[in-house]
Symmetry: C2
Subunit: 395 residues, 2 copies
Amino acid sequence: MRPGTMRERNLAMLLGEVFAHEPVTRARLAALTGFTKTTVSNLVAVLAEAGLVRDGELVHEGERGRPGVAVAVNRDRAAGLGLEVNVDYLAACVLDLGRRVRYRHLVAADNRDQQPERIVTALARLAEQAVASAAAQGLDVVGASVALPGVFDRADALHAPNLGWSNVPMAGLLGEGLPTLRLAAEHDNEANLAALGELWFGAGRTLGDYLHVSGEIGIGAGIIVGGQVFRGARGFAGELGHVAVAPGGPPCPCGGRGCLERVAGQEAILAAAGLTGVTAGSAAGPRESISALVGLLESGDRRALEAVLAAGRSLGAALAAAVKVLDPDTVVLGGIFSPLAPWVRPEVEAALSAGALYGAVPAVVVSPLAGDAAVLGAAGSVIERVHANPALLLH
Amino acid sequence: MRPGTMRERNLAMLLGEVFAHEPVTRARLAALTGFTKTTVSNLVAVLAEAGLVRDGELVHEGERGRPGVAVAVNRDRAAGLGLEVNVDYLAACVLDLGRRVRYRHLVAADNRDQQPERIVTALARLAEQAVASAAAQGLDVVGASVALPGVFDRADALHAPNLGWSNVPMAGLLGEGLPTLRLAAEHDNEANLAALGELWFGAGRTLGDYLHVSGEIGIGAGIIVGGQVFRGARGFAGELGHVAVAPGGPPCPCGGRGCLERVAGQEAILAAAGLTGVTAGSAAGPRESISALVGLLESGDRRALEAVLAAGRSLGAALAAAVKVLDPDTVVLGGIFSPLAPWVRPEVEAALSAGALYGAVPAVVVSPLAGDAAVLGAAGSVIERVHANPALLLH
DNA sequence: TGCGTTTCGTCAACTGCCTTGACGAAACCA
DNA sequence: TGGTTTCGTCAAGGCAGTTGACGAAACGCA
């Protein structure tokens, strides 16, 4: 570790305090960080020059004495671009440094069995529109992050069975297709980014360590420990969808039997509820199908209720095992389980409280973001990169 | 972060390189760390003054040129004390800074339903003997760490059902009872320390991230991620013993049904194998009972084989779920599963390979340490504290 | 209105720690 | 014996945070 590294960390720490307490005077920042007023002034000057913070009004914190100058995050310069490829839509979203949404766009599209190149081209068009719209607002998009519905192997190739893709070299495609920004483009699993979205835009930092269930066609879990994604040794951590919950149950392409997502995934639930005909081959996307299901549930449809409760029990069983291994503070129900929560949540809570050690039952909360968590998480992760090391933007 | 913090880290980094490459010259250390030769010399001087490192012979690394002075870890000064309280024994162990065992002592004792104060007193006597023996070898015991068979709640009170203890304020008892050393005494779950023992003394650093199953009366798992124990939000991570594997199975004191340790714990296996009479109330400790079981297995006893294979299947089922959530590189079978590995391991491997995603099957290895992992891990964790921040011993 | 009090932010000098560049020391080779 | 190579140290320098003092800007009270 060299003096330069020390400075990078101190800039990050200071920016974090500004973000957490803005508007805040230099004197209070000194108290918060333990630095001297001199050091705070120097660091603030560096951040201000990079356009990350700016001085505001005079503020009077105490009763007497000279008022201080408010330092606040600069919401009119650096911005982050989040992109998402999903089975039935593409989405983009721009956040400013204060994590406010400044632009959103969602395009319905059937992306199944399409050439990855075509999709990346369409995504790039979305990205360019987003960057242009941001520029019109005076924002400078410094980086992008892409959420993808699949997992990455050790060579960073994407396997996305729900898109019909396997072994797709995403890093290369995105690097060529997307507009060049100051920070390199990144990509990650939809479940991981949705979990991060929850951290920044959902139930928020009060969650502690948590496990965020992303129910879609597959079922994934994003695991957040200490504010960061827990990925496991190969990046496959949180593959909740392939925990076996039904011994001797239906076979799964993964090679197992009775995997959770065969029993409680979107398609399994819709089929069990008698809604298969509505979706198969029709134009109705998943979100519409789930709305239809919720309609049935609210009208008290017996078959739909049975289907959803059974899915809730299976999900509860898988989560009970996961919780005993991970011991999170909270379990967040996201994706399709968010609209279905009134029926699913009691089942999950029952499964988690049976056999809880020493009262270690995590709270079960419902995601307010539902399907939007992933794009928001993607855009947020760009902002997070800047927060973690503002020196990246010093030029 | 202040300059002093930077120095602490750099000392730690340098000590780490010395440990990894000793004997090593200052010039090579400079190449390894990226520091300049000047800085290396300064840092080495500080470590040498604290007695952590010392100069050795001249060594000739290249073909030509002036030979360098070998810097090596000083194995004759700082030492760490590991202590263990278990159901049927107390143990102590002293390691030097190079993690060599310099003293070991194990005392058989039935610690069930004893007063915690009595046990701590007995443990303190063991600790004093260990410190004295270390002193006789010229070693300075700088700290101690205690392995305990139970979990700690948020208030750091110990709950150890197998000892008949609940809500025991261990930190206080140990603080008063144990000899005062330069670093404060620490304590941790036996499963966690056993997992760390494996890291330093067992299959070693080649394991990557792993899950170490400690099969004893209960079944715990120590989870190592990036060389550190993964504890979860409340410190209950890795409670593998209470994953439900037998729906509608026997009830467990934890409140659940069909918990793994009711089905594959030591007592369940011995009972199923028809060995209950041998242990219940008799003087034979667990290790003897397991030896007896291994004897039966080797002689081909039908009932014993059935019992152990069934336990292996249950363990495999629980591990399969844990592995999909955590995605470790390796699963280590320790505790009683170490001697039983020839029979248990194939079952576990079968369970893990069914439904493995994208070839993400962790290797299953057998602990060479078996029951000794926890004391070694405890002593090793003291050494680790010094390695992580050698500045603790500067004064 | 004027002056003391309080708090804010900045300035100049200082210290700690790593780096630079040069140099003497210690080996080998011719 | 002298040239070459590599090792470790030394003096000077630079970066970054600290110290202590001081001017600036508000309020309160006479």
